[in-house]
Amino acid sequence: VEIKDARRGNLPASERVLVGVTEPVDEFTAFVAASSARLLRAAWLLTFDRDDAQDLTQLAFAKTFAAWQRVRRDDAESYARRVLVNSYIDWWRRAPWRERSTAQVPEAGVIDDHARQTDERTALTVALEELTRRERTVVVLRYYLDVSEADVADQLNVSAGTVKSTASKALAKLRRSTALAGFQPPTRDLALEDIS
């Protein structure tokens, strides 16, 4: 596979513009190298599927490149993350047959023969699978990628109050899991009375 030389004369003006003096192709390649692991892992936590995680992440990067002129000076990863989570929500809405209705345990990330830890992962996996798409998205953004509540609201195009209540419901569900039995939610985001 070779990279097109976008500076050839017979390419459209749009592509010639993309390759400017600062070589955004190199810049974008560096961006992918720096952020792909984080986004791919987040996508896996959303989907519990390697192929789906690849699809989501690759789509997010491609759309980010298509918008590179606009987003390169801002937070490109934030843009890619926005595409990723909204694609996740949209894809599953449009393709309900992709939904998993079973609490099938995905492959474990760490080979660990310690029964308790394995049980914890299994319990957490089951608990995550019982969340709605939006709840799981909020959990992954907020507590895995450490995105601020305001930014989660912005990326999902909802109010901060919606993020707060969605996270509250999600954490309440997770706390019923043995994996998070002793987990106390961060008080700065959540009113304790919201947690059942």
């Binding site: 791919l40 690849q54 449009r94």
Partner: protein, 256 residues
């Protein structure tokens, strides 16, 4: 340890080893296609406002000429010949616009549908019109349709962006993943009766279908399961089994 750090670590413990299975170059190529389709939407909107339906013939390296668009009573209208492409003028109006993510808003010509290789699903291909590119007028969007629910999952939108989009040979070949495994998709220009591509060294036969607007354009796709394969150079043969040209620069998957 803070509560949110505990949750972060527990989530982290679930995730398997992962790395992106395509190079950044492929993402750039896909992004460029999206950009081209987005600009097509803008350009075609303007073109449709001022123009009627076009009649145009497309010469394929002097072999023959195909009618690619039916005339209306608004008369013929051709764009000036583009000498850098080495081809005759192509139709530019009367074709549907593309959406901003490369998906066809409405098909240009009849949609193509054929077996995907995954039970209960078909591959559906829509052509979409691209305006504003010097040598490319058409792109193809591949999707997988679930025959039970009717839901479609986009696979890849592809178009040529190096040289003429109707030069004989392979164009826009790309590897992607989708429902049930991986897919190689692309299109070929010429009288191909069969196309195959080596996947992990083993030849894989492609599904092949003609584009109704220009039957010399054949869309093709290959489905496989398991990890995405290492691909070789695709081959095309005519009805008698004779090899056809692959194209000077466009024989490799992911190129052109």
């Amino acid at each position: 340890m803070k509560p949110d750090e505990i949750l972060h670590d527990k989530l982290e413990s679930l995730v398997p080893d992962l790395q992106l299975d395509v190079p950044a170059e492929n993402l750039i190529k896909r992004g460029r296609r999206m950009l081209a389709a987005r600009q097509s939407l803008i350009a075609s909107g303007a073109a449709v406002a001022v123009a009627g339906i076009t009649v145009a013939g497309v010469a394929l390296s002097g072999h023959h000429t195909s009618t690619v668009q039916t005339a209306s009573n608004s008369g013929s209208q051709l764009q000036p010949a583009d000498l850098t492409c080495g081809v005759s003028p192509q139709p530019t109006v009367g074709a549907p616009a593309a959406s901003n993510d490369g998906a066809a808003a409405t098909p240009w010509g009849a949609a193509i549908q054929g077996a995907s290789g995954v039970a209960g699903t078909d591959v559906v291909v829509h052509a979409f019109h691209i305006a504003g590119m010097q040598c490319t007028n058409v792109g193809f969007e591949f999707a997988v349709k679930n025959l039970s629910t009717g839901a479609t999952t986009p696979l890849e939108a592809t178009n040529e962006y190096e040289g003429s989009d109707i030069a004989p040979g392979f164009h826009g070949a790309g590897l992607t993943t989708g429902p049930g495994g991986w897919y190689v998709v692309g299109y070929y220009v010429g009288p191909a009766a069969a196309i195959s591509i080596p996947a992990n060294g083993q030849p894989a036969s492609a599904h092949l279908a003609s584009w109704a607007v220009n039957p010399d354009v054949k869309v093709w796709w290959v489905h496989g399961t398991g990890p995405t394969p290492t691909l070789g150079t695709p081959d095309a043969t005519d009805g008698s089994g004779a090899p056809l040209p692959g194209g000077a620069r466009n024989g490799q998957p992911g190129v052109g």
